[in-house]
């Protein structure tokens, strides 16, 4: 199939940037979205142009690098799917596709579609860990965990830190990401000692980074490639409020 792409090109953080139009022919429906961009880049390189910079690593939906806004939807049209797992069979001959980087003040554009998501790392550094010598993996059932808690913790732990939740949020809020981490650790026995201080530190870091405030629009869950549920945010709020009440 033949497609028209409008891709955000920006040579560096200080460049203004603009959408640039490319025609691309003979796209196979079996290609992934990133492979389609690879083909575009090969042509650009052969023509002596600068290839489109985009982040990617695993290309199997587990690393969270392949951030891009496709036609106004984070990770494109397919639900619960990262861009690297989106395939061109979802498009038709003659389609025009607009590709942009995540837009948020705490995610500055590095180049083209690549943004700097270090803000997420700093939120994790603020409290997304457990300060006990963990040693080797514990014996199964040495510490009993109720099945339902284990399931919810595991679901929350599948967050790959891609940032789609921020990109899709009309408020530019990082609540779903932060809540996923807080839920994941806060549901397990190992996470209990630091449960309150963790929630406070991570929420405060999130606000400090300049993310917007959550108004529970649900746009985050809807685009999250891992389907992190919205009730993680209620858990985060509950942990945060309880900790704030205790220490004033």
């Amino acid at each position: 199939m033949n497609l028209t792409l409008k891709v955000w090109r920006q040579s560096g953080p200080d460049d203004e940037g603009k959408l640039v139009r490319y025609q691309i022919e003979d796209v196979s429906p079996d290609m992934s979205f990133l492979e389609m961009l690879d083909v575009l880049n090969e042509r650009l390189i052969l023509a002596g142009d600068d290839p489109v910079a985009f982040d990617h690593d695993c290309r199997e939906g587990i690393c969270g690098m392949c951030s891009m806004m496709i036609d106004g939807v984070a990770h494109g049209p397919q639900k619960n799917t990262t861009t690297c797992q989106l395939h061109m069979r979802h498009y038709n001959d003659g389609d025009t596709i607009v590709i942009e980087p995540w837009r948020a003040r705490p995610f500055p554009v590095v180049k083209d579609l690549v943004v700097d998501r270090s803000a997420f790392d700093r939120i994790i550094q603020a409290g997304g860990f457990i300060s006990v010598p963990a040693g080797s993996a514990p014996d199964a059932h040495a510490t009993p965990v109720p099945k339902l808690d284990a399931d919810d913790a595991f679901d929350a732990a599948t967050c790959i830190g891609c940032g789609a939740c921020v990109a899709a949020c009309p408020n530019g809020s990082a609540s779903l990401f932060t809540a996923a981490k807080i839920t994941h650790l806060g549901l397990l026995p190992q996470g209990q000692p630091e449960r309150g201080s963790r929630a406070r530190a991570m929420v405060e870091q999130m606000d400090e980074e300049g993310f917007g405030g959550c108004t529970n629009t649900g746009e985050c869950t809807a685009v999250c490639p891992k389907g992190i549920p919205l009730d993680t945010i209620a858990r985060m709020n509950s942990d945060y409020l309880r900790a704030s009440r205790k220490s004033g």
Binding site: R103, G213, T215, E219, L230, A234, M236, Y240
Partner: protein, 209 residues
Amino acid sequence: MAVSGAVLVFFLVAHMAGNLKIFAGAESFNGYAAWLREVGYPLLPHRGLLTLLEAGLVVAIGAHMWSAIVLTRRAAHARPVKYAAKVKSRANGYATRTMRWGGVIIFFFVIYHLLDMTFGVTNPEGHDATPFARMVAGFEPARWYITVFYVISVVMVGLHLRHGLWSALQTLGVARRYPVLKASAAVVSGLLTIGFLVVPLAITFGVVK
């Protein structure tokens, strides 16, 4: 947002229940309005409790608007560069998307409404008439456009509550079991909307004269 909104929800429930007294006749409705001004007398001064509630209401509305403005400004700050492609909403919720503008519309409605019913400025019967006379004159059939305006505004309020009710619980961290929660929010806002709507409609269609 959540706390001030909750105060306003309690006001709306009481207000709706009070309005429904119109069906019990002029005497009952006027009596209720007079009672509002006299509760607690002589322990409290005349209009004592009412003034206190009104002050509380003003604080709650102020706090609600203030938090809405802070959130809107934070959102604008967090996304300095807009997307070129129109961002498609993937979550379902007309109510959710209209919170900000809906809130502004409700604000203008409340201003008009106070001029109409509380101060009687835009009301044909004026300020000195009884509350019942003001209501009946306000929604008389010839003023059907006022009724239409009220209907639209009250539906806006209903939509606002539909998202607002469960969102407040989520913000306060008590949200669990979403289907139950969202269904209750829809039922409560639906009942409130209907409870508010029947009064002006009944007057315009001549059921209450």
